[in-house]
Structure formats: structure tokens, C-alpha cells
């Protein structure tokens, strides 16, 4: 079918354009996984138009993956400063709780609810930023606090109730479609462009990479490392708030116990698979999105092939390991010595 042809040609073109960029490896892995599905998972590429919107596994990947993609954008910047944010899953729960409480119990307008939920995300991020940048607590420890306490806070906000809501605008957020595609895709792309402009249109990206690369030297050049760190945690909190909105909208209610559970781990994985090193420094924003898509495609694949949820993490881990190995300079050096066929990656992804 010609759509098939266009898709694969497009993907090959994407790979070619990025052949010497760090994003090449996660992109290649994603392509291989899709190719595998193309031939072995019946119906994976089937698309169907009903009521003017698309349905199919590929659409599910985007819709389901949108939360991790949003989280990964914020997480990328945090990891680039040499930190990590374990609390984003819990912040999602807080944002969902605030949203449901404002529309479901306080009966205020949808706009107020969304603003309040995002503000909660920002506030939670500011708290993390204060601990890491202000009090110089190690990021893992500092964000662990909110990771542990966050779901309790969400429970307090909703008073332990599961609050449902039906407002069409809120339901649209996580379930609606725009131009036949899930609205979440628009949301992710808009957020990606905003983030890219934020870091590359200003000097913020350079400062983040400088702080992550050598904090002492950054201090000596008159950079305020603490201010940069504070900003990235606030931004990660905002992304988590947004992801929390989507998650709540998906199920039309706030579930303090399960919203965003373990998603912080998927977000960290997406960033690492995408080519940003946990040690900080250079970051790959697009790589993180591809990493998130890869992880979601894996989950959807396993689901579509009826692999039980209990053993699904094993094949997932294997694929992720493979991508990380492909990026390892040591291994690539060895392979290159054997073959000299692998493209050299610019900018040293590790």
C-alpha cells in the first residue's frame, strides 16, 4: 500500500538526516521495533477512521506515550544539570487531585482548574528546586521526599475520595482528537517546541550544559549554578503538572494512588535511551522524545502480542540495554575497530 511506502521512506529519510546525530541510535531502535511489528504483529499498523478520528495501535502509542514524553522534556533538563527528579509521578497525582477538587468539589470553571493544577506542578517543582539549589541537598534525596509524600498530599487534597468529572473540555484534553489525531500529540509537539525555544533561543541550554559538565568551572565563570538548577526543577514540575492533567483526563477522575505511578522511571529511561548521560552535560531533547516513544512502542507491542504484564519488563529491559550498549563509546570503539562501518556520532553521546 502506498501509505506503507511513504511511511517507511519517511522513516529512512529521518534516519539519514540524523545519521551523525546522537538521536540516530534510539531512532534506529524505534525503526527496527516498528519493522518487527510490521511483519510479525498482525494488525499493528492497521488504522481505522471512525467519527472523523483515527484508531489503531500506532495512535495508542502516541496517546499513551504522551505522558512520558511530557515528563521526559522536563527530566532531560534536570538530568543535564547532573540531577534527577524522582517526584514527577507524585506531582502528576497532586496536579490531578487539584484539578478534580477545583471542578468536582469547588465547582469552579475549567480554566481556573487547569491553571490551579499547573500552578500546583510549578509549586512542587519550586519546592524541589529550593531543596536542591537552595539547601544543596542531593537531588535523589531531595526529590525522594516529594516522591514519598506527594501521593499523601494528593490524598489530603481530595480528602481520600475518588472525584469524577465530566466537563467536556477536560475530557477532551486526554481523549479528544484534533485533525483526526489525538489532541495529546498536539500538546506534546507544542510543549517540545516551547522547550526547544526556551533552551536554544536563550542561553539557558548552554548554562544547563555548562553546569552539568563542570559545576566548579561554571561557578568560576560567574554563572549562577543554583539559579539554573532551580529553574530546571520548576520546569520539570510544570511538565509533570501537564502530564498529570492528561492522566486525570484519561480516566475522567483523580486517582491519587495510581496516577503517574512509576512514570518517573520511564521518564528517566527515556532520557537515557535518548542519549543524555546521567552524569550531566550535553542533552538531547529530541532524543528523549524518541526514547519515550520507543518505550511506549515496546509496551504496546508486548500488550498487542499478549505478553503477560508480569514478564513484560524483561523484554523491555533487554531492548533498553541494547540501545544503551549501542551508545557506549567503549563498545562502539570495539565494533568500529572490527568493521569501521558504524557512523561516528557527533557531540559524544554516552
Amino acid at each position: 500500500m502506498w501509505i506503507d511506502l511513504v511511511f517507511w521512506a519517511g522513516f529512512a529519510g529521518l534516519l539519514w538526516v540524523n545519521r551523525s546525530r546522537p538521536v540516530f541510535w534510539p531512532l534506529l531502535a524505534l525503526g527496527l521495533l516498528l519493522l518487527f511489528n510490521r511483519f510479525t504483529t498482525p494488525g499493528f499498523f492497521d488504522l481505522e477512521i471512525r467519527d472523523g478520528r483515527l484508531y489503531g495501535s500506532l495512535v495508542d502509542v502516541i496517546n499513551q506515550g504522551s505522558k512520558v514524553m511530557l515528563l521526559a522534556l522536563g527530566m532531560t533538563l534536570v538530568i543535564a544539570t547532573g540531577g534527577v527528579d524522582l517526584s514527577v509521578g507524585a506531582i502528576m497525582a497532586i496536579a490531578g487531585a487539584v484539578l478534580a477538587q477545583v471542578v468536582g468539589v469547588a465547582h469552579l470553571s475549567v480554566t481556573v482548574a487547569i491553571v490551579a493544577a499547573l500552578a500546583a506542578g510549578l509549586l512542587a517543582g519550586a519546592w524541589n528546586g529550593l531543596l536542591v539549589a537552595g539547601l544543596r541537598i542531593q537531588p535523589i534525596v531531595a526529590t525522594l521526599i516529594l516522591m514519598v509524600a506527594g501521593r499523601g498530599i494528593a490524598q489530603l487534597i481530595t480528602d481520600g475520595q475518588i472525584i469524577n468529572f465530566e466537563q467536556p473540555a477536560l475530557v477532551f484534553l486526554g481523549n479528544g482528537s484534533l485533525f483526526g489525531l489525538p489532541f495529546t500529540l498536539t500538546l506534546v509537539l507544542a510543549m517540545f517546541i516551547f522547550t526547544a525555544l526556551l533552551v536554544r533561543g536563550t542561553a539557558l541550554g548552554l548554562f544547563i550544559e555548562a553546569v552539568g559538565d563542570n559545576e566548579t568551572a561554571s561557578h568560576f565563570t560567574g554563572l549562577s549554578a543554583q539559579r539554573v538548577k532551580f529553574l530546571v526543577y520548576v520546569f520539570a514540575g510544570f511538565c509533570a503538572g501537564l502530564a498529570g492533567l492528561v492522566a486525570a483526563s484519561n480516566i475522567k477522575s483523580a486517582d491519587a494512588n495510581h496516577a503517574g505511578l512509576y512514570l518517573e522511571l520511564d521518564a528517566i529511561l527515556a532520557v537515557v535511551v535518548g542519549g543524555t548521560a546521567l552524569t550531566g552535560g550535553r542533552f538531547q531533547l529530541a532524543g528523549s522524545l524518541v526514547g519515550a516513544l520507543l518505550i511506549q512502542t515496546l509496551s504496546t507491542t508486548l500488550y498487542a502480542r499478549n505478553v503477560s504484564a508480569d514478564i513484560a519488563p524483561v523484554p523491555k529491559a533487554i531492548v533498553i540495554l541494547a540501545v544503551c550498549l549501542l551508545q557506549s563509546p567503549v563498545l562502539r570503539g570495539k565494533i568500529a575497530r572490527l568493521g569501521r562501518f558504524l557512523p561516528k556520532t557527533k557531540g559524544g553521546a554516552a
Binding site: 563542570n214 566548579t216 565563570t221
Partner: protein, 506 residues
């Protein structure tokens, strides 16, 4: 003359965009110190790294004691008999001195590390060098000089036959250098073949029996030190004629400018760091800071730049009271500091030359006012030309530059901010003689245009010929100030030793 124990022929190493080593022959003989000389980026460190397995070599062979060797890592090179102290010392700051010396060679019983044996072995290794350090001390608490000696202790702790030292003396003061040389001579007399890289000509002539000169990755020649006049050596390194080199070395002594001080401090100090002192520097003036390592020179610079806060005294900038509470404040006041420890305090290793160069200027403009790319490129090309920075491209990662070229990028980083006061802590460390002359000339020009410079340097000759005034530090206090006729090496030495230039007996 003995037969070479190590012979390299046709060593070649290419990096993307540069041929760092181009068919170089090199020989090391037992009982000899062989100096490897060349400008920044000539390929000295690359030769050493290609020889010891840090970089795979593209062509050429290395024969050690009759056997062809192909080490794939420094450890394999050590096992084969070549022990190395690299230019960028690679020790682990959070471990103790003893652990650093024995790391990877621990003595174990049934898998348990024998700490007693390790301590003894480390102490013995240090004692051989005549260095007294507590082996339980954490390495990061030791001065750079001690760290350097620890690295050498580690390198000589194994039974190798070839010892390579890549710029081992660049952070040592005179007496420490002498100490190190005693050790090196002893090792030489025990029959080690020693390869030595340094940009200090005095040291090379004091130590080396033989000199090999590289230029742009190519071998210029191998000479006996006794038969190679200094000027000829410099001419070989730079690829210029002797007359040109002589012209470079000529310089007239600058006179102190008139005018109000740009920066002055009174009773300025910090407990446990610098005793209260008075200093002032005018526009268009170079104030030298002399003193031994650890005498408080660096600490003065840190205080002036706001890295540490003064807890006594006051500071005036252009007659108005001022306080530098942080590097950010200094940046706004147009102060600049090139720090002493390039690797940990200055280099952003995985960022490009361009990014490293513009970062201070960008920090002053803040997050939101990004320097347009065109202006960045203009700055980079302006400074690579002005300072002769050798890089294959502005987008090269700075860690791939040679040590001296990294140093020039750091200097450019601060010059790009158009400072009023420039604090230079050992700015010419690791820079070759030609580039040093270039930089001195550039600084003289900036000084004449009204820049105030505070110049810290362990090399008294360099200090004397560049400063209009010299403050001498000892034991964290200012002990003398030299001007006019006292601006010479002897007077500086006397002041360092006795705290006073004019009365050598006191």
C-alpha cells in the same frame, strides 16, 4: 652512549581534521633523560598517549627491549614496562593518598584488601621521592604540587624501565622542582630511561641529556642537549630563524602610570586564608604577586574576585566603596579571573571551543539575552587569531585541544568580557615559549589601553619583566612591595626569603 631500550618508528596518529603525529621516530636510552619539546599542539602528549595505549596508533611500531609492544591501555603499557604521569593528572580526589598510589594494585588476602600493606607501600613510594605526606589524607585536601608528586610516586611504584613525565613541573615551585629533579636524577642513575616534557627551558637544560623537537606533528630532529643552544632550540620549535626569535625576546621595561587606583583594598583579609593587607592597582598597570606555593597568592585573587568573602577590611573601586560578594558581582564590575587549576576550575570539557570561549560574556548578559550566533563566531575567530589558538574547528570539544591551547581559550574567555581588572593566576602554565611571548605582548597592549592586571606567577623572571610593581607574599601575608630598580629576580627571591628586598641579612 647506550643502545635505546625503547625505539619508536614512524608513529602516526590522526584525529578528525588533524594529523597530530606524522611518522615520528623516537628513542629512549637507559640512564638518560630525554626531553620532548615543541609548541602547544605539536603532538608531544599525543606521542606519549599513542605509545602507552591511550590512543590506538594509526601506523608505526614501538619496540621495548627488543620486543614489539602494542599496549591497548596505560595498564598494559605499565605491565610492559612503561610508566606514565599524564599532563592531566588522573587521580581520584576523594580517595586517600595511599589508595591513589596503590589503586588497581591492591594487595589482597582471600579477596580482602590489606590496608596495612597498602599504607606501608604508599609510604615507601613517597619516601623514595623524599616527600613527607600523611598517606591517609584525602587527595583533594593536598595542594596541586603534592598531588603531582603523588602521581609520580604511583608511576615509580612499579618495576618499570621507562618513566614518562608530561609537564610534571608546571604546578611546582622552585624548591619542589629541585626536589623532583633529585628524584628523577636518582631514577636515571638507577638505569631508568626518562622521557620528560616541559615548556621551561631552564628545567630542560638542567635535566635533559637529549632533546627531541616536534613541530606540527612532525619530527624536527634529535639533539644532544649540550650541543643545542637555547635560541636554536626555540627556533627549531617555532620554525623561525634565530634572528626572529631574538627579536621576540627584546622588551622595554614599562613605567608605572599616573592616576587614581582602579581598585584598592585596606586591611583586606579573611581568617585562615589571607592576613589583612593593603593593595592597589591602577588602570594600565601590572601588579605582580610573588611568593612560594601556598603563600596566599591564589587566596588573594579569590578574595578580590568574590570566590571567598573577605571578613575584614574594605575595598574601593574607582574611589567608591565596593564589595565582591560573588563571582557574579565581579563579572558585573568587569573583573576577570583565570584560575590556577585549569582542569577543575576552568574547562568545560565536553563543550566546544566556541561555547567555552563565550561563556563568561554570556553569563554577564544573563540567560535571556543570548549572544547572536554571528557575534559568537566573530569573537571566536577574533581570539583564535589574536592568541594563535590551534584547533581543527571552533566546534571541536575543548578537551580535544592540547593543554596549552586550552589555556589560551580560557584567557580568551575572559578577554572577551572586556574586563577592567584582569586577575591572572599562573596564566602561562603549560604554554610554549612562542605563545608565551605572544600572550605577554597582547597583555602589554591591553595594559597600555588601560587594563589593570594582577599577575600571579611562580616564575620570578617572567614576573619581573612584566610587572610595574610586585607585592611579595609569605605565610599568607604581604611582606614587601617592590618597585623600580627592585623589579628583578634577585630582589624578588630575597623578599620571598627574608620578607624585605633591601636587607638580605634581616
Amino acid at each position: 652512549m647506550s643502545e635505546p631500550i625503547l625505539s619508536c618508528r614512524g608513529l602516526t596518529k590522526r584525529f578528525p581534521g588533524v594529523v597530530a603525529l606524522d611518522g615520528v621516530d623516537f628513542f629512549a636510552r637507559p640512564g638518560e633523560v630525554h626531553a620532548l619539546m615543541g609548541e602547544n599542539g605539536a603532538g608531544k602528549s599525543t606521542l606519549i598517549k599513542a605509545l602507552t595505549g591511550v590512543h590506538p596508533r594509526d601506523a608505526g611500531e614501538a619496540v621495548l627491549a627488543g620486543k614489539s609492544i602494542h599496549p591497548r591501555s596505560p595498564r598494559e603499557a605499565e605491565a610492559a614496562g612503561i610508566s606514565t604521569v599524564y599532563q592531566e593528572v588522573n587521580l581520584i580526589p576523594d580517595l586517600s593518598v595511599a589508595e591513589n598510589i596503590c589503586l588497581g594494585r591492591q594487595e589482597t588476602t582471600l579477596g580482602f584488601i590489606r590496608w596495612g600493606a597498602i599504607r606501608e607501600r604508599a609510604s615507601a613510594a613517597l619516601a623514595r621521592l623524599g616527600v613527607a605526606v600523611d598517606v591517609d589524607k584525602t587527595l583533594s585536601d593536598c595542594s596541586i604540587a603534592i598531588q603531582q608528586l603523588v602521581a609520580i610516586a604511583r608511576a615509580t611504584d612499579i618495576s618499570a624501565r621507562v618513566l614518562i613525565l608530561d609537564e610534571p613541573t608546571s604546578s611546582l615551585d622552585d624548591s619542589e622542582v629541585e626536589e623532583l629533579f633529585t628524584v628523577v636524577r636518582r631514577l636515571r642513575d638507577e638505569g631508568w630511561a626518562i622521557i620528560f616534557v616541559s615548556h621551561f627551558l631552564d628545567q630542560v637544560y638542567a635535566l635533559a641529556d637529549r632533546i627531541t623537537v616536534l613541530r606540527n606533528g612532525k619530527l624536527v630532529g634529535e639533539f644532544l642537549a649540550a650541543e643545542l643552544p637555547r635560541l636554536q632550540l626555540v627556533a627549531h620549535m617555532m620554525g623561525r630563524s634565530i634572528n626572529e626569535v631574538e627579536a621576540l625576546q627584546h622588551r622595554e621595561p614599562p613605567a608605572r602610570p599616573a592616576g587614581e587606583p582602579l581598585v584598592s583594598v585596606r586591611g583586606f583579609g579573611r581568617r585562615a586564608s589571607v592576613r589583612p593587607l593593603d593593595l592597589e592597582v591602577r588602570r594600565g598597570e601590572v601588579l605582580g604577586l610573588a611568593g612560594l606555593l601556598g603563600s596566599g597568592r591564589t587566596e588573594v585573587a579569590r578574595l578580590l574576585f568574590g570566590l571567598d568573602r573577605a571578613d575584614s577590611g574594605e575595598m574601593h573601586v574607582e574611589g567608591k566603596p565596593a564589595a565582591m560578594r560573588s563571582p557574579q558581582a565581579s563579572l558585573r564590575a568587569r573583573f576577570a579571573l583565570t584560575p590556577e587549576d585549569r582542569k577543575s576550575q576552568a574547562i568545560l570539557p565536553n563543550l566546544t571551543v566556541r561555547e567555552n570561549l563565550i561563556i563568561a560574556l554570556q553569563a554577564r548578559r544573563g540567560i535571556w539575552r543570548k549572544i547572536p550566533r554571528q557575534e559568537q563566531d566573530r569573537l571566536v575567530s577574533q581570539f583564535t587569531r589574536a592568541l594563535g589558538i590551534k584547533t581543527s574547528s571552533p566546534e571541536q570539544l575543548i578537551r580535544n585541544l592540547s593543554g596549552g591551547n586550552q589555556q589560551k581559550v580560557i584567557l580568551a574567555r575572559w578577554l572577551a568580557t572586556e574586563p577592567r581588572l584582569l586577575l591572572l593566576d599562573e596564566p602561562t602554565r603549560g604554554i610554549d615559549v612562542g605563545a608565551q611571548a605572544d600572550i605577554e605582548r597582547l597583555l602589554a597592549k591591553l595594559r597600555d589601553e588601560g587594563l589593570a592586571i594582577i599577575f600571579i606567577c611562580a616564575d620570578t623572571a617572567e614576573l619581573a619583566r612584566n610587572s610595574q610593581r610586585i607585592a611579595v607574599m609569605r605565610d599568607r601575608a604581604k611582606v614587601a612591595e617592590l618597585t623600580g630598580a627592585d623589579l628583578n629576580e634577585q630582589a624578588i627571591m630575597r623578599a620571598i626569603a627574608h620578607g624585605d628586598a633591601s636587607h638580605p641579612s634581616s
